[in-house]
Amino acid sequence: MRNRNATAYRFLTPYLLIFAIFWVWPIISSFMISFQATRTVPWRFAPSFNWGRLIGDPAFFNALKNTLLILVIQVPVMISLALVMAVLLNSPLLKARGLYRFAFFAPVVVGEVAYSAVFRLMFNLDFGIINKLLNSVGLPKIDWFSNVTPAMALIMIAVTWRWAGYNAIILLAGMQSIPEDVYEAATLDRVSKLKQFFYITLPLLKPVIVFCLVLSIIGTMQLFTEPFLITERGGPGGGTETLGLLLYRQGFRSLNFGYASAVAYTMAGLAIAITLAQLWLTREPK
């Protein structure tokens, strides 16, 4: 490796330029906008205008509560499911591996709009295939869109369907990088497969699991399209409103950039706090 400042920066400049214009400046700008009253012309500096409103705004706490609820339930369920998928797809006993891989990995390429549309139709009250199937086995119909609990469940089901395979791909790659002879030695010592999973696979996979958790938490924290399109702008009555949706509504419907920036920074603060907590909880014991 050679020390060449000029050459290195010539290669880096276009990338860093885009980064400076479209990320560094917005990160600073967003912070400053959050301290301004933006619905007057010109904007004026009013430190407590947005932040003061935020801590007293029931709509904010509703969105925060919904986002955290989805986070706490959906992310662990999805990562566990992804882990199960990855372990089973990795089993040497599996036949027709390609078909199973296709089934679980295919949602990764499906766009948010396309799958939101399908889920809306599938979960329709009177004509949706899910309620028809529930009926046909003698269960009552569920009104997925008018009641808060089923609506939240629907959002979580949709997100889990879309992202479980994505996480399974990452976990599977992590599993395949664990050396085979570790398992061979364990098998020779008559350690059961289940014990091998808990005492070999899980500990060695921990960094990859943490990576998946962090990515999923940041993604779910910003959840927007599913409550926007599937449950119709966070319905019923704000029951599935998320922080992402609140930001959209405040920033781009009411054009209240100051308040929306305060919401954005709350999301960033939460994401950073949760990520740091995650890294701290799963740190290597010294």
Binding site: P14, G111, V113, Y248
Partner: protein, 278 residues
């Protein structure tokens, strides 16, 4: 020995008995997307259970085209995704090359910043990006607005840095002894060697652009400038709209990507897995 192999058989059967229903559940929404796209609207909203495709796709597509100019939107989506992919692959591999092959002042800072942005929610930059592009640069409803801001991509750079740093030094040193310039070494020695990684990266970037929703929804909201997902999204929730048409649009957005996925599965998976395997 025979008890061992029969235990193996039992385990294998249990595995398939568990995994097959799960796989069918996972395929079900995609299958229903195809089924819906071939059904007339009064068939979709009828009490019977329909699980097999009908023959109404062309009618549905015509309804979709009547509701919104979907073919035009697909044209924009394809052009934008192709341009974005080419530019982004070039930019991220140049940056990855610099980080992998040179020692330079400020390198640690650059790497730390790139890593830091992975954990930073996009929401934080969204509003100023919008104000800047729409109000200051007056670029709303243009291709530039769709292509340029998303060019910053941290996982891509880390992936390319990883790819280039695994290449042996003597390859490049031999060229340097001959007096070949650094940019020629990058273009004509390094990039061709990195072809499989570039393919993986390109697929992931293309997919990201193709499916991108929030930014295009905000910045290109005029009917003639919408990407295909945005155009389709405007129909969801309308009262007088052809749902068969929406499903035909969903199929047109999804099936080409599924085909690419099947054909290039290895690259696809490599691209996604790259994020985690350091």
């Amino acid at each position: 020995m025979s008890s061992r192999s029969s235990a193996r058989l039992g385990r294998s059967i249990a595995l398939h008995l568990f995994l097959t229903p799960l796989a069918l559940i996972w395929l079900f929404p995609l299958w229903m997307m195809v089924v819906f796209s071939t059904m007339p609207d009064n068939g979709i909203f009828s009490p019977g259970i329909e699980l097999l495709p009908h023959g109404n796709f062309i009618d549905n597509f015509n309804n979709l085209q009547r509701d919104t100019n979907f073919v035009g939107a697909i044209g924009i989506s394809v052009s934008v995704a192709v341009t974005y992919t080419i530019l982004s692959v070039l930019l991220t591999s140049m940056a990855g090359w610099a980080l992998a092959r040179y020692q330079f002042f400020g390198k640690g800072v650059v790497v730390a910043i790139i890593l830091g942005t992975i954990t930073l929610p996009y929401a934080v930059v969204l509003i100023p990006q919008f104000i800047m592009v729409a109000r200051d640069f007056k670029l709303a409803n243009t291709w530039v607005a769709l292509i340029v801001p998303p060019l910053f991509n941290s996982l891509g750079v880390l992936f390319m840095r990883q790819s280039f740093s695994m290449m042996p030094d003597d390859l490049f040193d031999a060229a340097r002894v001959e007096g070949v310039k650094e940019w020629r070494i990058f273009l004509f020695v390094a990039l061709p060697l990195a072809r499989p990684m570039l393919a993986a990266l390109a697929i992931i970037l293309f997919l990201a652009s193709w499916n991108n929703y929030l930014w295009p929804l905000l910045i290109n909201s005029q009917p003639g400038s919408m990407t295909a997902p945005v155009a389709l999204g405007t129909l969801i929730g309308l009262t007088k709209v052809s749902w068969g048409g929406i499903m035909a649009g969903a199929v047109m957005l999804t099936v080409p990507m599924l085909v690419v996925f099947v054909l290039l599965q290895r690259h696809f998976i490599a691209g996604i897995a790259a994020g985690a395997v350091k």
